[in-house]
Subunit: 515 residues, 2 copies
């Protein structure tokens, strides 16, 4: 058995059975191995950033690592932005990156590059086996690394001669590492802090935003008057009627500071201490009030949901009695202009139960988040690392992970262009995804940020760096070119009609919402 | 004057007057500076890989560095593949990458990453100023670095507070570094080697492939019987009637070895010793015959054209008497199927004088190269580093550098999807580019490579990783969605008609050649 096959068999036995691939010449033996092994599914994308974002979406929804397959340093580089997002979101993810045969590297052929150097900044773990016999153990190690620390990016660089050489076969998989629990003392400290506090904020992040963590936090809130907030860009948060409501920390630092004003006690559960996304001249980076006492119940690398449950058992209401959102849906808008607001209303009115929403709408998505909150049970995935181009690929991975759930991509028109190739994979795999493009024909967030930076009367050159209106992109044509059916809405009723159609029909569908 | 303005003024004074940009929040003061300074042109692209490839095309055509403007590590990562190509092609190129304010980095906000780490593998030089006052000197240093060594990737990481803080104004530019010349002794050694050789191969690369180098090499060939070859993927080669013909070393190692069989003497002028692009099981990495004596007249970091001229003065024919290609064009095909062959014939028949051809056609481009060789004077740009996604962006940069020349992109359908966003910039800037998509609906090179790797009867999963036929991409719809007019050809006459139209009309035009 060649090394490539020993690796893939080891990975599949360890639960990594889905591969998002864009291989090249140096990966041909990996392709053969995937071809030969029935237990692995391979999904082709035409750009590596799509593979990485899809693997992120898959890992978020299943909790299991998908694998990627990339061609040397250039292929890995194309995936770097979405690997950054996955790393920030603590998604378990296995990168398989081909490398020249070990003896060929010294010749510095044109595609030679420092693959480990490219991998480092977007990986938590990087390893290169040096013999075909080392491939199986490398498979065990990469599985362990990806599933340690609450989810990590583990990158395995595979020299071609390690892939094509003879090995001793696959290795047996180990148990998956579990998140360490917090100690009783830490729970007690948090309880003391909450009791002593006046305005108490529970800030949830990472795995605390699953149903268990949210319910436990609400039990604490109901008993103590504490407020339940979450980090701005959550990896995965459960929302909807029958679940407690979690408030989202606003993006802009002034708004976040306003939201936290007067809080004298903050308890971190899975979240890190809140900081401004960017620095602004003369503004603080830290968002908690200066006199606020911050207590870390659990960081993201420990079991924050279990920690919240332990804390709720100490000072919360009984389990099962926590407050929940009622079922409330807005009316479906059938008249008027199409705006962020009417898009949000329509989404709230029609949201299917059990949907997965992948949010990269940037400035346009705020009403959508508000109006879907209590409309139906759903899972919300954000852009965790701020690297634009996550949204459409995330929807691909989520749909492959959860074929029985409707997936919705809320995508800004600026965002959509970074990884538009993902639509082709949606069509190829016949994925049940409705993609809404918020077409405002600008990088609207940058226009806001330019004003915030103190620019007085910006000139045409500055505005041209933020306007997408010359030429206007025809998103329905683009989607059709990539095999995805769609329609264009310029009024509220047109949008509502198209959204209903997208939700009713299986398979991918794109709506260009002209704002 | 803020630091950003002192930097941009310094860069513009040093000749870097064209910026390919995709900025974000941390670059808003750089945007303001570009806005305020009349001497700099900014070109927006909707994906950073397009900016990098366009800057590569601009640098190849002008010999001057363009600057990019990227948003933090994620933006730079998106550009990595085309920066790899530019680095391999020795294009002078200045990256400006925004970074958080110096005091903000320690908070590890979501978009924080190791930017210098990401820059390292795709840069020859990386620097981060630490104060606004250091920005002007950083501008001088990055100009010098980009133009040293025959062309380098020089990356300047700009913390936001260095951009927005007060500086002392711009710095005065220094003279551009010139390539060191080779010594008389090196020229003599090469002359002795040529005289002693039986079958002598001159292998040209880098700047030896300009008109000066080619003419000098032909003088040597005419006098000594030496053959003039070039490296497989040249940064820029001048071709056409009135110029000597340079043979291209084939891509596949067996063919390259066959081409060099019996050569006992090789003289390198701007080229490196030829090696196989990839390693193959049981095959050599080095392509020159084992008993071939290789003499380096000039590496790519010295003035290889001047070295060839010096060598020609020693043993060549008189200057101006070198053999030249005649003007020969094929007939315009007006019947029959559309094939790589008929596309090539039509290109040869219609090629406008002075065109620039950006070649990323991979398996489909061989006849095009053959039939355009003697059709009209033109410049040929290859994908120098093997990182796919170079072609369409290169055409953008070449067209901005040379607005009076017709630019032609020959792009495989697999290649085209990596940086398809470049079409939008073609439309926005009304660039005079004809893009030909060779639509064979497969990664054909990989199907060949899979067979070469020894795969017996590959199964459907392997073939699905290389087939682009499900769904078929409609390139004309894609182009229209991005504002580029185009047409679809399924026969030779349809292609000829569309190509004529594309050449006759100014502005961008795309032809989907259905093969």
């Amino acid at each position: 058995m060649i090394g490539a096959e020993s690796l893939v068999r080891t990975l599949v036995a360890g639960g990594a059975d889905t591969a998002f691939v864009n291989p090249g010449t140096s990966e041909m033996h990996m392709v053969q191995a995937i071809d030969n092994i029935a237990g692995v599914r391979s999904v082709l994308s035409l750009f590596e950033g799509v593979c990485a974002g899809a693997a992120d979406g898959f890992g978020r929804m299943t909790g299991r690592p998908a694998m990627t397959l990339f061609h040397l340093g250039a292929g890995l580089g194309n995936a770097a932005a979405n690997l950054h997002n996955a790393r920030r979101g603590r998604t378990p993810l296995i990168n398989i990156v081909g490398e020249h045969a070990t003896y060929h590297i010294k010749y510095d052929a044109p595609l030679t590059s420092d693959i480990a150097g490219i991998a480092g900044p977007v990986s938590n773990w990087v390893h290169t086996p040096s013999t075909p016999g080392g491939m199986a153990q490398a498979g065990i190690d990469v599985l362990q690394a990806a599933q340690s620390g609450g989810g990590q990016i583990a990158t395995l660089i595979v020299p071609a001669d390690c892939a094509w050489g003879e090995s001793d076969g696959p290795a047996e998989s180990l148990e998956i590492p579990v998140l360490p629990e917090v100690s009783d003392d830490e729970v007690k400290s948090a309880a003391i802090a909450i009791k002593a506090g006046n305005r108490v904020v529970l800030l949830l992040g990472a795995k605390a935003l699953g149903e268990r963590g949210i319910r436990a936090a609400q039990r604490i809130a109901d008993a103590t008057g504490a407020e339940v907030w979450r980090e701005t860009f959550a990896t995965k948060v459960e929302r909807g009627p029958g679940l407690p409501k979690v408030l989202r920390l606003p993006y802009f630092p002034e708004q976040a500071e306003e939201a936290l004003k007067g809080a004298d006690t903050m308890i971190l559960a899975g979240a890190r201490e809140p900081v401004s996304f960017f620095a602004y001249e003369g503004k603080n980076s830290e968002l908690a009030p200066a006199n606020c006492t911050v207590t870390r119940l659990s960081g993201p690398r420990r079991d924050a949901a279990a920690a919240l449950e332990a804390l709720a058992d100490v000072l919360g209401t009984p389990s099962g009695q926590e407050s929940e959102c009622p079922l409330e849906r807005p009316e479906l808008p059938t008249t008027g202009d199409l705006t962020d607001e009417t898009v949000g209303l329509a989404l709230g009115a029609l949201l299917p139960d059990g949907a997965i929403i992948c949010d990269e709408a940037i400035t346009s998505g705020v009403p959508a988040a508000a109006y879907t909150q209590t409309a139906a049970r759903h899972t919300w995935l954000s852009i965790t690392g701020g690297a634009i181009g996550a949204g459409i690929p995330l929807s691909v991975g989520a749909a492959i992970a959860c074929p029985d759930r409707k997936v919705i991509g809320l995508i800004g028109d600026g965002s959509a262009m970074y990884t538009i190739q993902a639509l082709w994979t949606q069509a190829r795999e016949k994925l049940d995804i409705v993609t809404v493009i918020f077409s405002n024909r600008q990088y609207h967030i940058l226009q806001i940020e330019l004003m915030r930076s103190g620019a007085q009367n910006p000139g045409p050159k500055a505005m041209e760096m933020m306007n997408l209106n010359n030429p206007e992109i025809n998103w329905v044509q683009m989607a059709a070119g990539l095999g995805v059916d769609g329609g264009r809405a310029t009024t509220a009723v047109e949008f509502s009609t198209l959204l209903k159609r997208g939700f009713d029909e299986p398979g991918p569908f794109l709506i260009e919402a002209v704002l």
